[in-house]
């Protein structure tokens, strides 16, 4: 079946010297509207609900990967089951293009940094090299998510799930990385990340 499509697809590719990009933010906005992503993730992708992640300015590849993990039932979150049901790869990529194109920013009412938590959070982040993959400004890249400009309560929630082996990612990196950290360490690193510009 699929093999039979090959020659036609190859011809098409040859005909256009600039193939259209696979993903499209405008199409993604329409899918987001139809599936009401903003009802939970906030207008313009900035969450106003506790433990609900913001998606604005999130890394495109990361959003695509997470949507596939939800769709495949690997990252198990009841609230996301319906939203991800039956998404095609293209819809997932379009949604990712849309949310990654929205400007991100720190949560306006995040409060002022607590010196003790900031110090401990900075130590944990440095000793486990969070900046190697998430980059020194914690804005992430490709499959590594943006972890600044995120809600602190969500960061704490999801870090705890990684540490406790509840959250399944596309790899085992984050589970291994957080192994053995205390609840206080996680609180501190979540606070530290939420206060990065």
């Amino acid at each position: 079946m699929r093999g039979a499509m090959l020659p036609a697809a190859a011809l098409l590719a040859a005909a256009f010297s600039f193939p259209a990009p696979a993903q499209d933010a405008t199409r993604g906005a329409a899918v987001a509207e139809a599936r009401q992503c903003q009802a939970c993730h906030g207008p313009q992708g900035r969450s106003e609900i506790p433990e609900m992640p913001s998606l604005a300015g999130q890394q495109e590849d990361f959003v695509t990967m997470q949507l596939i993990l939800f769709r495949e039932g690997l990252r198990r979150v009841p609230a996301m089951t319906e939203a991800a049901r039956g998404l095609t790869d293209t819809e997932a990529q379009d949604l990712a293009a849309y949310f990654s194109s929205l400007p991100s920013g720190p949560k306006p009412d995040r409060g002022s940094p607590d010196p003790a938590l900031m110090a401990r959070g900075g130590e944990v982040a440095a000793s486990r090299n969070c900046n190697a993959c998430h980059l020194p400004n914690f804005a992430g890249r490709a499959n590594v998510p943006r972890v600044n400009h995120q809600r602190e309560d969500y960061l704490l929630h999801t870090l705890t799930e990684y540490r406790d082996g509840v959250r399944v990612g596309a790899d085992t990196q984050m589970n291994g990385l957080l192994y053995g950290l205390t609840d206080y360490d996680l609180r501190a690193v979540a606070h530290f990340l939420a206060h990065q510009e």
């Binding site: 699929r2 697809a9 990529q93 000793s127 490709a142 291994g176 360490d185």
Partner: protein, 400 residues
């Protein structure tokens, strides 16, 4: 013994000016354990896995190269994460994956390949093997069996053998390649739950075998950090396996290796020695105490598929030759691997290696266009090669 003071030094260098309040440092993460101080600010990170379908016009089949007289074509596509492959008696090719959690079934109707998803929602089901018409699947610490699988492709009913096999639950290096040996036993490796560490020696760093029902566990090889590819020599039946060296010990150390198991249960060096590299992070035993590898494959090249060619369609010198798919490096600058090599016996019995399928690695731009992973000889003597990054399977054949 892990040298604590070495690790402590690395942490201190990574934290200029910050006085550490706590005496007890958290252990470094699995991937960075044993990292030398000079690599602490390295921006290297594992490459993003691709979980979506790559359209056929973006699959780099036209830029792949094979030796004179061979040809390579796109055999199947639309299988994100395609990795290990095995074939049922009625010709179905089963394909395991990691991140996307699926096992695919590929049927060839003569004109084209039909791809379907046999199982989904499994945690890294990379191991697939067929025995008496049943498909065995190894996911993270789980073993499943689907009886009479080729007659149940639409509605598979797996039997869960997990408790019989009793695999360690630690996720890191817990994904596996599996295969039946000539002795009818199921061979399953168990990698180490870290980058470099000392492990209970009957629990990790092993290749083990069982009866197909999970009884009569036997340790075949010890001191094997992480083997995700092995096969049995078509004539001698000996177990040949590839092994992944540790990360973060430098661009050129240690090398990934190819081994042959000459004595059952023998220790092949982990954590002390890898491919002749005496690991400075661990003390206690010397490289000279372990059997040397059959072949050094190169640093960080990541051997996956490790497969004896059992067909007769390729020229004489490829009969019973060992093909190894090098999925390619992440913990190294510049990139290494990203090709399929062939290992043969040269003059006076020495092993020689040659590149076989290349063109994935773009040295000028330090990019790659695909990651070869699984290998399978087909009844017509062609060789299938899966590409995990593009969710594709290529077919290499010889033109007479």
């Amino acid at each position: 013994m892990i040298r604590r003071h070495l690790l402590g030094l690395a942490a201190a260098v990574a934290l200029p000016g910050i006085a550490l309040a706590q005496q007890q440092q958290p252990a470094p993460p699995a991937w960075a354990q044993g990292r030398p101080a000079e690599m602490a600010s390295s921006p290297l990170a594992p490459h993003a896995p691709r979980l979506t379908v790559t359209p056929p016009d973006r699959i780099p089949v036209n830029s792949l190269r094979v030796p004179e007289g061979f040809q390579v074509e796109l055999w199947a596509h639309g299988l994100p994460g395609a990795r290990a492959m095995t074939r049922g008696p009625n010709g179905t090719v089963f394909v395991g994956t990691r991140g996307i959690g699926r096992v695919y079934a590929v049927r060839d109707n003569g004109q084209a390949r039909e791809v379907s998803t046999l199982m989904s929602g499994l945690d890294q089901p990379s191991g697939v093997a067929v025995r008496d018409g049943a498909l065995f699947i190894a996911a993270m610490h789980r073993v499943l069996r689907i009886d009479n699988v080729e007659n149940n492709l639409q509605n598979p009913q797996p039997t869960d053998l997990t408790s019989a096999f009793g695999q360690a639950a630690e996720p890191h290096h817990g994904w596996k390649h599996i295969a039946f040996g000539p002795d009818g036993r199921l061979y399953i490796p168990r990698g180490v739950p870290c980058n470099i560490c000392e492990v209970p020696e009957d629990r990790f760093a092993l290749i083990e075998s069982w009866n197909p029902d999970g009884s009569d566990r036997r340790i075949e090889a010890r001191g094997v950090r992480n083997s995700v590819g092995f096969d049995f020599h078509p004539r001698t039946g000996q177990l040949w396996f590839s092994n992944h060296g540790r990360d973060w010990a430098g661009n050129n150390n240690p090398s990934d290796t190819l081994h042959v198991s000459l004595r059952r249960g023998e220790n092949h060096g982990f954590p002390w020695c890898a491919g002749g590299f005496q690991d400075p992070a661990v003390e206690g035993r010397l490289c000279s105490e372990f059997p040397p590898p059959a072949l050094i494959l190169g640093p960080h090249v990541a051997p996956i598929g490790t497969h004896f060619y059992t067909g007769t369609a390729f020229p004489e010198q490829y009969r019973n030759a060992l093909f190894v798919a090098l999925r390619g490096s992440w913990n190294r600058a510049p990139l290494s691997g990203f090709e399929v090599i062939v290992v043969r016996e040269g003059e006076n019995g020495r092993l020689v290696r040659e590149s076989f399928l290349t063109g994935f690695r773009d040295d000028a731009n330090q990019r790659f266009s695909g990651r070869p992973a699984g290998l399978l000889t087909m009844p017509d003597g062609s060789l299938l090669v899966s590409d995990e990054d593009n969710g594709a399977i290529y077919r290499v054949s010889y033109r007479r």
